[in-house]
Amino acid sequence: MEKLKKKIGSFSFWNWVIASIIFRLILIYFPKNLNLSSRPEVSTPLTSFRRLAEGYWLKQSSMSSYAGSMYHGSPLLLSLLGPLTVKRIEGQPNHLLYSLVSVIADVVSAMLIRATGQNLRLAYLRSLESLDLVKQIDVSEFLFSGDIAALIYLCNPFTIVACVGLSTSPIENMAVILCLYGACSRLIPLAAFGWVIATHLSLYPAILIIPVIFLLGCGPDSPPRKLFLQRHQQKEVLNQLKLPPGFSWGPIIHFAFWAFLWSVYVLVLCGISLKQFGGLWEMFKSTYGFILTVEDLSPNIGVLWYFFAEVFEFFRNFFLIVFHVNILFMILPLSIRLRHRPCYLAFVYVAICSMLKSYPSVGDSALYLGLLGWFVNELADMQFSLFLFCGYVGVSLLSPVMHNLWIWRGTGNANFYFTTAMVYACLQIVLVVEGVSAVLNHDRKLRILITGKP
């Protein structure tokens, strides 16, 4: 019976995957990609396809691709994806090859999410067994978090829009997921590669080094170590339960070595391609400097653009520092409280980055919504879930309307669009806060089951 159930479950999983691929291909064949690549929610100055094409044109004309303030991405991406911007196949939509690359990136990310989710689920079951709680918690009702997370990622309208809208978000997301998958499965070179590429493409995944260290040192998500010790104390006479291993430094040194190797390789490649045009310093100024100084004030689904359009010149640097420190400050408290759950820590970090980064887009939200699927069992008791879902749907419908009113019709003004961006930020804040609260509650419930006292 169990085997049949599993078989049915996996069959419909592949059905959904194929359906989402076909849906993406249908949308790609629509004329002009449904103009999705010109929507500010999808393409930001960092992920825009037109800017990639412009950077490639400048490079082909023997000029530095950072010459104008157009392209702010990585030179490696330019070499790999640049030729795809100009290749045209007769009779097919204009950017078919690039869209196919995005679709493949999405599918690969979904497969990696599924594998990591299966890893996490097995680890969770194992830890429940060693805590001797298998009878008290109904394990057969545990959902296949890996499959659910992969399907959420593939069928999420945000992901589909980011893929069809020709932004570079699918590739950035794939790098982040590669890093987490490698760390979960103890494939250290792969994890180092994913981390280096993700940091190189957009600055913010650098903070994922902390969950990766915890993953490699302690292993995947598990209840707090204190519970194991308490259980061990209780059952010492009856059973010899194995304790989970402590923190090990070996894999971390291994990871540091591989990360160093990969980053030297990437920097050498970039240096070679930019030798005549100012070298690595020019690249850092145009990519990381651009991200950190928020030079471009085009509207997007974040809140920083309007703020820096209105703030006085005198306070600009101060507020830049404050907003970036906001992300950095939360690293320490979260890592202290959630160190036994590194994958959940990674999810929270990714969500905070997507919310507070300089140029957010729906592709970034697609990433953390997909990672949310790994924790459906732990977050079963999350409050405000319906409110959040309706909020997301509402914002994604209202935001294009407000943008149209402001820019195309001229009947609204910037405040309309900014309000939807702020509501979106508030929704994400509620999601992060309630998510953290729900996971801590889950751990507390386990503690009550073991020790009998709250």
């Binding site: 010109s38 044109w57 303030s69 400050f329 409050q383």
Partner: protein, 490 residues
């Protein structure tokens, strides 16, 4: 160095574009300044800054706005001394006012009370369609007034329209040309100059010179031209008529299009070169675009005779200097080689509109921002007139000016681009609301992380035990229900 103040646009269709006056003297609206520097490369920008400030003080105009790097550019091929020492800047929306006339008048001994400056009657000057002041004076030993009869007018006078009825062709003699039945001059000219042969037109211009020193207070110099018969003529035009316009709608993106149409000149040129099958017309385009109009150079497209064509077929050379935000404008110089029989040609390029901070908008933000005129030049043709002169010692400076070989140039229209504006009344509101959102994030996340739920529950239980009234109990139950699955749920 050349500085010009212009109000109005030179109407190339009616007033011609091929003679030296319209080619080198017709200027774009507003202020245009270009200068060639003789100092080492790294000093040029500082010298430019000094120059703009000095001129601004001299002419009481806002030329000092040209000092920032975002307003001037370095053309490579478009200006004759082709080197890196040229700096070009223009302010399209600068209004020309009577104050700008004052420095010219200060140079004259009697200012505007007597002499030639009496003609500069301010009300009538500024009421005209076009007037321009240019800083490139030539010193003359004596004052003379010149009257130029354009080639087109001469052709019309020589062979008037058959519909007029006057079929008698007038003999072209220099002595009694003023007895032409079409017009009458009140004063007889002192000298008459005939143009030497022109390669581009069959008829030749005629220049009348009147010397002012022969006249005095008692015998004032009053020149008048009276048309006896209505004469309409077409001034010789540039090889291709250039115009520029914006495409697209909305405040997010658009496209700039430069269109080149053939004029009656091209037909004549075509027939002259019809035996040479592969003749080519070279067109130089120089365009400066401010940084907030972010041009995508890879979207440059060429249309010849209304068909989209491959860019590499018609563009021989292209030099772009992409714009850097708030630092430098975008410069595009294109050398096109079009076939001589071209009917129409068009260049289109797409752009995105940028977003500025509130202190970067001008006081009237909703008017829009100007894209300066583009310069279209035809290096194959030279707008110059060589006049036969017998007295080579007393060379008139104006005639030597006319003889200078400069390529035919024309300026396109200034484009007005409306940009979206943020709400200017909102800085404090935006800052406070945004910081509230951040405080919400910061505070609630830290709160969740450090909560000790067990202690809270004990505290709440103790508080609930103390409560006796029904209403607080109902309220607490209601609040627990609203929050969804509460903490006390089993």
């Amino acid at each position: 160095m050349e500085l010009s103040f212009t109000q109005g646009r030179w109407n190339y269709e009616s007033w011609g574009g091929f003679d030296p006056i319209s080619s080198s003297n017709a200027k774009p609206p507003g202020v245009e300044l270009w200068a060639v520097f003789d100092v080492p490369q790294h000093h040029i920008d500082a010298s430019w800054k000094n120059l703009t400030h000095t001129l601004s003080g001299l002419f009481c105009a806002s030329i000092n706005f040209l000092e920032s790097t975002a307003t001037y550019s370095t053309p490579e091929w478009s200006f004759p001394p082709a080197s890196g020492n040229v700096r070009y800047g223009t302010l399209p929306c600068e209004a020309v006012c009577t104050e700008n006339l004052t420095p010219w008048l200060k140079l004259l001994p009697c200012r505007d009370k007597a002499g030639i400056a009496l003609l500069l009657d301010r009300p009538s000057l500024y009421r005209g369609f076009y007037h321009s002041q240019r800083g490139r004076c030539v010193l003359a030993k004596s004052s003379s007034v010149y009257l130029l009869l354009d080639r087109g007018l001469v052709a019309e006078l020589k062979f008037p329209n058959k519909e007029n009825g006057k079929s008698a062709a007038n003999g072209l003699t220099s002595e009694n040309f003023w007895s032409n039945p079409s017009f009458e001059l009140s004063v007889n000219p002192d000298r008459i100059f005939l143009e030497e042969s022109s390669s581009h037109s069959k008829s030749l211009s005629i220049l009348y010179m009147f010397q002012v020193e022969k006249y005095s207070e008692s015998e004032p110099f009053d020149i008048g031209l009276m048309w006896k018969v209505p004469v309409a003529w077409l001034c010789q035009q540039t090889p291709l008529h250039a115009s520029r316009f914006l495409m697209g709608s909305g405040n997010e993106r658009g496209a700039i299009a430069i269109s080149l149409k053939s004029t009656q000149f091209t037909e004549g040129f075509m027939s002259a070169n019809s035996k040479d099958g592969s003749c080519e017309l070279r067109v130089d385009v120089f365009q400066v675009v401010p940084w907030y109009v972010k041009v995508y150079f890879h979207s440059l497209r060429v249309f010849v005779d209304q068909q989209p064509r491959a860019v590499s077929d018609f563009i021989e050379k292209i030099h772009v200097s992409p714009s850097k935000d708030k630092m430098s404008p975008g410069v595009m110089e294109v050398v096109l080689k079009l076939p001589c029989r071209v009917n129409t040609a068009a260049l289109t390029i797409e752009f995105d509109k940028g977003f500025l901070r509130i202190d970067e908008y001008p006081p009237d933000a909703n008017q829009g921002f100007d894209i300066p005129s583009a310069i279209i030049s035809f290096p194959n043709f030279h707008a110059s007139m060589v006049f036969l002169e017998d007295d080579s010692l007393n060379r008139s400076p104006l005639l030597s000016k006319f003889q200078e070989k400069c390529p035919v140039m024309s300026y396109t229209e200034v484009l007005l681009v409306p940009l979206t504006t943020p709400d200017f009344s909102m800085p404090y509101n935006v800052i406070t609301i945004k910081c509230t959102v951040f405080a919400l994030y910061f505070g609630s996340l830290l709160n969740v992380l450090q909560r000790r739920v067990a202690e809270e529950e004990r505290f709440l239980k103790a508080k609930a035990a103390k409560k006796t009234g029904r209403l607080p109990l109902l309220l607490s139950k209601l609040s627990a229900k609203l929050r969804g699955s509460g903490i006390n749920q089993d």
